[in-house]
């Protein structure tokens, strides 16, 4: 019935209707920029090595789903519970043999299954890209899709929890969007601050998805997504047990939130991660990784750079991010006390690397310079240069102007026709069975 409810809801069809043009716009814009960078139209081409389909096409195209899942899809998910509350079906279902968790699981499955229809627009974009000779690398594509799947799970959990707590769909939508705005604010406020706040901000939906978009699969992020989604759904289950007094539900709900927070905090400490990007942007060369893995002593990096200093961003995105994935025992400390670093004195700009009891200061954020110092401190011979094949890059000058009609006309028309056809089919089916019964 959940599937039927989705197909009967205008919210779902409007979501479908909007997703096609949204994804299409993202794809066409990205493909056009990619073609320009590849030298289409007689312009100068960028270096081939800089043309990555992950950055140039996949991330922007599927970014449309992030927008849709954040701002449109919650209304579809909320409706599954809010409508039951409004029309009384929830009171009947509460008395059915199906438990609340089972019913929520069915809703989740139905939402996932029917959302696959919305993903057809993304698939279409991939087919167009591949058909025009565009390069796709399966592991980085699968990793990106996994990130969006986890994002979808979390959005579903939050929407269901909001719908369970609130009496109406409008209130639930406000709660859901407030959650999203809250995570955006956290992401913005905590950026570069270091400490626990930045660690939490690194697990917000936007920041979490960014990791997958960068071609990396971090166990900490994936587990945090799963823990938050499961926590939100458990919270919804607690609140839907209407026979339990509100005060007791509030206590149980708080316990679920606390358990979820503990699980997320635990997840944030997980170190394993994998780099699925074809250009290995999140990794040192294989030779460097092998050399670094021989360092068994604890490594401490003390960074005296303020959060708004671009060198800190370079360092985090480059050397430190890669070191975290390779070194078994790495501690990064932030020594700067102000946000901008304008009025800091006494060693500002210094980055100290300590391996065992040996320390050295390096101001550079360049990978080769830092690694050379770490090898020296760790008494590990640096590997010979070269080895890994260079990323070739994948220019594509193809234009996709014809696809405009697919996303802007054919997709909405197909969605509208499917809506009318399904409604007509239902009526016909029950008309026939009614005739048979009478």
């Amino acid at each position: 019935m959940e599937g039927g409810e989705l197909l009967a809801s205008r919210a779902f069809w409007l979501y479908l209707l909007a997703v096609g043009p949204l994804v299409g716009q993202a794809f066409l814009h990205a493909a056009s920029l990619y073609a320009e960078a590849s030298g289409r139209g007689g312009g100068p081409a960028a270096l081939a090595q800089g043309l990555s389909p992950l950055d140039g096409m996949l991330v922007p195209t599927f970014g449309a789903y992030d927008l849709a899942v954040t701002l449109l899809y919650p209304f579809v998910a909320i409706r599954l519970i809010s409508e039951e509350k409004r029309n009384g079906a929830g009171k009947l279902l509460l008395q059915s043999p199906a438990s609340i968790p089972l019913r929520l699981a069915v809703k989740l499955l139905a939402l996932a299954a029917f959302s696959l229809i919305a993903w057809a627009a993304g698939l279409l974009a991939l087919l167009l890209w591949a058909g025009a000779g565009g390069h796709l690398q399966l592991p980085e594509l699968a990793n990106l899709l996994l990130g969006h799947l986890l994002r979808f799970l979390l959005a579903t959990g939050v929407a269901l929890a909001a719908a369970a707590v609130c009496d109406g769909a409008a209130s639930a939508a406000i709660v859901t969007l407030s959650f999203t705005l809250g995570t955006w604010a956290l992401d913005f406020l905590a950026a570069g601050r270091g400490g626990w706040l930045e660690r939490i901000a690194g697990l917000t939906p936007t920041a979490g998805l960014r990791v997958f978009e960068h071609g990396e699969l971090r166990l900490s992020v994936a587990f945090a997504f799963l823990a938050a989604s499961a926590g939100a759904i458990a919270f919804a289950a607690v609140w839907l047990a209407s026979w339990v007094p509100v005060a007791r539900r509030a206590v149980r709900g708080a316990a679920v939130v606390a358990a979820t927070a503990v699980a997320i905090a635990g997840a944030s400490r997980l170190k394993p991660g994998w780099d699925f990007s074809e250009d290995r942007r999140n990794s040192f060369s294989r030779a460097d990784e092998a050399a670094l893995s021989r360092i068994t002593e604890p490594v401490t990096v003390t960074v005296n750079l303020a959060p708004e200093d671009p060198r800190l961003f370079d360092l985090e995105r480059g050397v430190l991010g890669k070191l975290r994935r390779v070194l078994a025992d790495l501690t990064v400390r932030r020594a700067a006390r102000s946000r901008s670093g304008l009025f800091e004195s006494g060693g500002y700009g210094e980055v100290w690397y300590q391996v065992g009891g040996r320390r050295a200061m390096v101001r550079s954020t360049i990978e080769a310079v830092v690694l050379e110092e770490i090898y020296r401190l760790a008494n590990v011979p640096p590997p010979a240069a070269g080895g890994d094949p260079a990323y070739p890059g994948y220019p594509l000058r193809a234009g996709f102007e014809g696809a405009l009609w697919i996303f802007y006309a054919a997709w909405p028309a197909a969605a509208a026709l499917a809506f009318l056809w399904i409604r007509g089919r239902w009526r016909k089916r029950w008309d026939e069975s009614g005739n048979q019964a009478s």
Partner: protein, 204 residues
């Protein structure tokens, strides 16, 4: 058949929702065959059909009936017979939300009666039905009671209640003002004759 009688705001629906375990009760317990029934387990024994609901408004009646029978493990042949008796066959393809009040009421009664539970709590089962339909539904309810099921009906129309129910509970401002057959209630009210209306006014 037990009738729960009371004016609007007397607490009939609240009582039903507490009995069905959908709302927490401040005090008291529900006993079934001498044993307490915990709120979370009441759905195994009783089924409550609320008033003023339009469940699955966007779905055809036939689909709702079919889903409901599968969900509650109802006997499909019983549901089919009920649909025939209540005259639902004509609008199986109509969406629940598009039905008239009386048609919707009959769909809800079919759903409620199809659920294999020993006790059925129906909130205002005659609301929205015309006289003929009310008489037909009364017959259906009597047959269900004759099959050994207990029907607890909340009714605000006293004439309907007096005609349909074997025993009555009079509820006023959340308190039980009387309980028994109509003649027992008459005796208690000190009235030798008179209908349920007079008895109700005398006891509340």
């Amino acid at each position: 058949m037990l009738g729960l009688i009371g004016p609007n705001g007397a607490g009939k629906t609240t009582l039903f929702e507490c009995l069905a375990g959908e709302l927490p009760a401040d005090a008291g317990e529900v006993l079934w065959q001498g044993r307490p029934l915990a709120a979370g387990h009441r759905k195994e024994t009783l089924f409550y059909l609320p008033d003023q609901i339009t469940p699955w408004a966007g779905q055809p009646v036939g689909r709702v009936l079919s889903f409901f029978s599968r969900l509650f493990g109802a006997d499909p042949s019983r549901l089919s017979a009920l649909a025939g008796t209540l005259g639902l066959s004509r609008f199986l393809s109509e969406n629940v939300g598009e039905l008239s009040k009386g048609e919707r009421r009959r769909v809800l009664l079919a759903l409620g009666l199809s659920v294999p539970r020993e006790i059925l709590l129906f909130d205002e089962p005659f609301d929205g039905l015309d006289l003929r339909q009310a008489r037909e539904v009364e017959g259906v309810l009597r047959r269900a009671a004759a099959q050994g099921r207990t029907l607890f009906l909340s009714i605000h129309q006293l004439t309907d209640a007096a005609r349909v129910c074997d025993r009555l509970v009079l509820l006023s401002a959340g308190r039980v003002a009387g309980e028994g057959t109509l003649s027992e209630l008459r005796n208690r009210a000190g009235l030798e004759a008179g209908g349920l209306e007079e008895v109700f006014l005398a006891l509340t």
